[in-house]
Symmetry: C2
DNA sequence: CTATCTGTTATACTCTAACTATAACAGATA
DNA sequence: TATCTGTTATAGTTAGAGTATAACAGATAG
């Protein structure tokens, strides 16, 4: 796998895991239907406990990113990732709020901020291995 | 004060405090030189411990938002808030990254995302009591 | 001078989240 | 039957968040 954790980070391991898997989906390294490692093998691979991996998987399942067949294993959701709904957008807004508020204080212009976001968006499009 | 905390939130109280004060500065409810309540009075006002307020203040001081005169009290930094430097922008980027990556997965278009940010930026300009 | 305000520091305690360590269970499959 | 899957349960450690007191040092108002 392409998982790369920072054990010194204040960001919990299972959150880092979630982010990296989502990033994998965004960059299409992981496509709908693709299999993910079992909780045990991924845990062993990274050198962490299986419960930590399981916690990440449960969260990803809850958010509609993956399907977990009891004996078949874990799979990126075959129907694709659920589109953003109002709840998601509301949460997104709450997460953006403090970032923008501090940016305003630090004299980051709206243009500059949007440009940064735009740049990040393009990071995904570039690495797309579209058919 | 305009402080409004959610004690049920997973977001630590001191972080909420930091965000709200920064938001106050961004909306110019708090201007450079303005006095902030003492750790004790704010703590009593909100109904929390003075150490929790102090933790928030220390962080804000570290980030250049406020000045703390040992006996005079706490003041919004008279010279204004330090402009965004490379470190800040790098951290900002790291915080935006997972948000954008999930948005991409959920089919939020770049335009839609930028529009949301833009909207948040305008929230601050609107409430500005500029001279 | 004294009382009272400020931030600061120190100690100690509770509670929760994160993470680990084992173990066991149940269903599928080779 | 052995082995793989996810799942559940129990138990332990560690760190962060928050609280509770107390005390110190400098400034200031009475």
């Amino acid at each position: 796998m392409f998982i790369n954790l920072d054990f010194e980070s204040k960001e919990p391991i299972y959150v880092q895991l979630i982010h990296q898997i989502i990033e994998g989906v965004a960059k299409k390294k992981l496509q709908p239907g693709d299999a993910l490692p079992s909780v045990r093998s991924l845990a062993a691979d990274i050198g962490i406990n299986l419960h930590t991996v399981n916690k990440a998987y449960q969260q990803l399942k809850q958010d509609g990113f993956i399907l977990i067949h009891r004996q078949k294993g874990v799979v990126v959701h075959p129907d694709g990732i659920p589109k953003a709904d109002k709840v998601y957008k509301s949460v997104l807004k709450e997460k953006l709020h403090p970032l923008i508020s501090e940016s305003v204080c630090r004299s980051v212009t709206e243009e500059e901020f949007l440009q940064l976001c735009s740049q990040l968006f393009h990071e995904f499009k570039e690495e797309t291995g579209d058919v």
